[in-house]
Symmetry: C2
DNA sequence: CTGAAAGCGCTAACAC
DNA sequence: GTGTTAGCGCTTTCAG
């Protein structure tokens, strides 16, 4: 790290200025497309830049300008299709507005989540996106509050009320609520509800509440045996459901399965498919991921609208930077994507579900 | 963008120095855990930092140090599980070495791929990772060569020979070759090969070559009808295979399917499953993605070893920075993950495949 | 339209 | 051990 010497790292703006016989200010103007430069001068400088393969240093530039044109995105795990999808949508949107994306896969440990936010603050990112409700801590969100004092924070699919944080999410409680009603309208009244609670507490409890209230709204008494907390994973769910199916006759029975995640639904489906007897059980997943397309019969799934949420959040960021006022909370409704494991029309004679 | 004034952006190192009654150098030392500072002074400064919520500017720091501790990662599409997986593995590895990850999802257009590389160069990233063979252009890789003059480039699962670029990949040709041999040993001699050629030309042709050579090695004459170029997508493949199955009797027949991607294999599986007659067709996918677990029967798939490739590449980067010599090319062998759609033991009486 | 010069926040010689 | 100070490469006022 020898100092006081340069050149090994390529040319800088000063070199280009010298080579073009203009000042650094002019070169800077050319680089930044500042109109107040003669066409002649501009082309001159440009050609010097070309010929010398000059690559302006974006950080020095952002450093001077006090904006790095970078936003940080946090998710617990990109290898999970849901986050990968959200990330993909956000990244594309942000790039269109000229922002680069700094990615942090934090896992679910609080210290790591905090660490990522601190690092992002040190990087002086222009904004932070938090994907999923894993970033809304149950107890103490002080670190979010503090971070938001430095830079705007966007929650994707989670809600929390804090200054300078903006939440855009899908109403998953309502989504489950409606889905339950649709199942019931189709004559499916005994619904096994599968969810993985341990993480993402907030979203999990929202969905569960939707299930319970949905049943209540239909005048159905909830059966505790039909609410199953499972570990995330196809096989664990498969085993669990297989066991439940085995003692079906003994007590609780069900003719529908609603899961808080496609993976769980698929695990359940495998359990059902492996039964000897040909059971007619409707299954509905959640997230409408690619996985829902891979299983056979293809999984009907609740779409939590990442396609609309993510671009929306990006737009909001842009408006914010333009100085416009933006809402601190926007919530969109989910959509049921019907595939082979449940169809509204096929299962009932009501073609529309009324509220 | 008012200049010549500060404070609105928070404190800087000079403020902390003043508040602690020491010099900026000392504060810098404290921040960077430089041991040559009295415990007393250190704690003093630290407490001042704490009390004032001072957040050092990582860019100014990297700027001085001439390393941003950032690496750029390019992939064509994070929403694709394969890339998401690779990204996840790389990101984790890099973070352990203190690097942040700048993500670019470039798509497959050359201009966008070039643009991303240029942007990364402007960001002065410490290295660039390119995931997948989509970044190895068929004709002209001049931009890669030039970029590599500025910063080391790592290809993940692709090979190209250029100064300062390092390739770590899985020998997919060999993988397909061996798989064909295993199928044949199991008595499956008529193998429908499904691949999507249009993009990732290099990887695609490698695999195809593996298929052809595999057949040749087994003394089987290749049947052009059994080599199908398809578009990526479950349903398009499903339709294609359904058509082929329909006219099975007319000409070509097959009792095995080998696909260059799990998604294709799953599409084919759906076609097979929907046949009336109970067909015994072995299916093997490629990538060993989560999708392979979702379908029923679960898909046997070739694992191209991202789990070993990615950490390995990260290690190499680290060695490179430590000044050690690293190999410009490391290639690992694939592994066949047996699931329900094909089992070596079940299908043949050879428990081991000999070369 | 162009140039001179003062920063941006931090690092690392070098001197004490 | 600690302080002084000259940069890092670029932006932006302010004069001209």
């Amino acid at each position: 790290m020898t100092y006081h010497k340069r050149g090994e790292k390529g040319l800088n703006i000063r070199d280009i200025a010298a080579l073009s016989g203009v000042s650094v200010a002019t070169v800077s103007r050319v680089i930044n497309n500042n109109p107040s430069v003669t066409v002649k001068t501009r082309e001159m400088v440009l050609s010097v830049i070309q010929q010398n393969d000059y690559v302006p240093n974006a950080f020095a530039s952002g450093f001077g300008r006090n904006s790095m044109k970078i936003v940080g995105i946090l998710c617990t795990d990109v290898a999970n299709l849901y986050y990968a999808n959200a990330l993909s949508l956000l990244e594309h949107g942000l790039r269109r507005y000229g922002f680069d994306t700094l990615l942090y896969c934090t896992g679910t440990l609080l210290t790591d989540k905090k660490g990522a936010i601190t690092a992002l603050l040190q990087r002086r990112v222009d904004a932070i996106f938090l994907i999923g409700s894993a970033y809304r801590e149950e107890r103490d969100n002080q670190h979010i509050r503090e971070a938001a004092q430095q830079t705007p924070i966007f929650f994707i699919n989670a809600y929390i009320q804090l200054p300078n944080v903006y939440c855009v999410y899908c109403d998953e409680k309502e989504a489950i609520f409606n889905t339950v009603k649709q199942l019931v309208s189709a004559g499916i009244k005994d619904i096994l509800y599968l969810h993985d609670m341990q993480k993402w507490a907030w979203a999990g409890s929202q969905k569960l509440a939707g299930y319970k209230e949905g049943l209540a709204a239909c005048g159905i008494k909830e059966n505790p045996d039909l609410i199953q907390v499972v570990d995330y994973g196809i096989n664990t769910v498969r085993n669990r459901v297989t066991k439940i199916l085995a003692k079906l006759d003994e007590g609780s029975k069900f003719n529908g399965i609603l899961a808080s995640e496609d993976v769980l639904a698929i695990g359940a489906q495998k359990a059902v498919l492996s039964q000897k007897k040909n059971m007619d059980i409707s299954i509905i997943g959640f997230n409408n991921s690619q996985l829902a397309l891979c299983c056979t019969p293809a999984l009907t799934s609740v779409d939590n609208m990442l396609d609309t949420i993510c671009p929306m959040a990006v737009n909001m960021l842009n408006q914010l930077f333009k100085g416009e006022k933006i809402s601190s909370k926007v919530v969109v409704s989910a959509t049921l994507v019907e595939r082979e494991t449940f169809r509204i029309d096929k299962n009932s004679h009501v073609s529309k579900i009324e509220d």
